[in-house]
Structure formats: structure tokens, C-alpha cells
């Protein structure tokens, strides 16, 4: 969808009302309402939080802190990107669709595209490098790298290179991160 849009935009092959691009803010509001409803209605999302032991909470916590700190450090090497912006991009945890849309609305298209590319590449890198990560960074490596994608697209490779018993932790971490993305991204851009 994104690429179709890019091509259409490049060749200006569009009706005028789409080029104005004004109603995306209202769509975002509607989207937020629906995302909220989806989470609230998901009995899994709630029971997963209720039933877990404290130790498992450490896994998504590592991913959140690690991603934010890692991105903050990286931002010193990129002159055009502030700490806040880098942290907001990293707070997508691989959930590229939702995070890039948020960032576009709040900080503009350039950072939105960075968020899209960065989070897609997080998924791709995890798919390719999980066996390596598990070998050198312990059994949590693939889960940590996958972020929010550990629960779906990256689950097969994680389960294969780490073992089936770790799949539950992968899903748990992925679910927690997926739920947190729509809160954390606007929070970082608004308050930090």
C-alpha cells in the first residue's frame, strides 16, 4: 500500500482531494479508538498480564529500555536526528505500520519514513540473524531483537533457534510490546 502510494505521488496520478491530505489526522483519531477497543476486548491481552510471573516481565522491559537507550546513543552519531526522535523511532519495536503512522502525524513525513524503514529493517534483521543472536547473546537474543514481531512474523525462527519452550516468552514479550507501542510513541514525542 505504501509503495503504491509513493508511485502514485511521484507521478501525481491522483485526484486533488487526496493530495490535500487533510483528513489523515481524523483517521488517526478513529484508528486510536479502534486499536483501544481491540486491546480492551482481547481477553488474551489481559490474562497474559495477570498470569505471568514477575521474571517474564523483565524480557519486554529489556527490549524497551535496551531499544530506547541504544537509539539514544545512536542519535549522537546522526546529526539530523534528536535523541527524542531516535527514541520514538525505536519505540516502534518492529511494529512498523502503527508506529510510522503516529510519527508521521506528530513529527512529519521525513521521520515517518525513517520509522517505517527502521522498523521494517528490525523485522528483516531479526528474521535473518536470530540464530547468530541466540548463539552470542543467549536464549533471549531473538526475542529481544524481534521486539513486537516476536509474537507473529518472527516467532517461527525464534522458536526454531531457541527452542519451543521459549516461544511462550516470545509471544508474551511481543504482545506486551505491541500493546505499548501506541502509548509509548506519542508519549515520547509529547513529553520528552
Amino acid at each position: 500500500m505504501f509503495i503504491v502510494g509513493v508511485v502514485l505521488g511521484l507521478y501525481k496520478f491522483l485526484p486533488d482531494f487526496l493530495m490535500e491530505n487533510d483528513f489523515s489526522m481524523y483517521s488517526l483519531y478513529a484508528l486510536m479508538l479502534f486499536v483501544g477497543i481491540g486491546i480492551g476486548a482481547d481477553s488474551n491481552a489481559l490474562s497474559v498480564i495477570r498470569e505471568t510471573k514477575i521474571k517474564i516481565i523483565l524480557v519486554p522491559l529489556c527490549v524497551i529500555l535496551g531499544s530506547l537507550i541504544g537509539a539514544a546513543v545512536t542519535s549522537f552519531f546522526i546529526s539530523k536526528i534528536s535523541i527524542t526522535e531516535a527514541m520514538a523511532v525505536a519505540a516502534g519495536f518492529g511494529y512498523y505500520s502503527l508506529s510510522s503512522i503516529f510519527i508521521t502525524e506528530i513529527s512529519g513525513e521525513t521521520l515517518g519514513v525513517i520509522a517505517l524503514l527502521s522498523n521494517i529493517s528490525r523485522e528483516i534483521i531479526t528474521l535473518l540473524a536470530t540464530p547468530f543472536f541466540v548463539k552470542y547473546f543467549g536464549k533471549l537474543g531473538g526475542i529481544a531483537s524481534g521486539g513486537a514481531t516476536s509474537m507473529d512474523t518472527c516467532l517461527p525462527i525464534i522458536s526454531e533457534s531457541t527452542g519451543k519452550e521459549w516461544a511462550i516468552i516470545a509471544v508474551f514479550s511481543g504482545v506486551v510490546l505491541t500493546i505499548i507501542v501506541p502509548f509509548l510513541v506519542p508519549f515520547i514525542l509529547t513529553f520528552i
Partner: protein
Amino acid sequence: MIPVLLLMTIGLILGYVLRNKTKFILFSNKATTLIIYMLLFLLGIGVGLNKTIISNIANIGFQAILITFGAILGSLILAYITYKLFFIQKNEK
């Protein structure tokens, strides 16, 4: 961005109250996917029309990858420490 967080919270409560209305929840999930695709489409159009982005795409892509490397490496290091501290002992017992 306060309205976004507020709407999210309203949605959470609404979803929890209406969690047994299967039809409504299915509709809400479908609407979520549809709006995400539509907004990505609009973002695509905006990018295609935006000359600054198109002419700097290599540079922008490089920045994106750098942030990803930072984020993944940070996560991996913390995960490694957590694994050594909290997860290994359990397996050895």
C-alpha cells in the same frame, strides 16, 4: 497528542465493556486494519510528492538502519544480562 492517548483509553474501556459483543469487536478489528492500510497509502502519497524525501532517500534509509542497529544492540545487551542473571540458574537447577 493528548487527544490520541485519551481516545486510546476510551477505546480500552469501551472494548473491555463490550468484549462479549463479538460482531462489534470483529468490526473494530477490521476497521483497524483498513485504516492502517489507508494511512500507509496516504503516507506513501505524501512521500511520493515530497521532493526532499525522494532526493534524500539513501541518506534517510541509512539513518533508519543506524537507529535499528542501535536499538537491536541495546536490546541484545540487556537481554544477555537478564538471561545470565535470572534465566540460567533456573535451568541448571
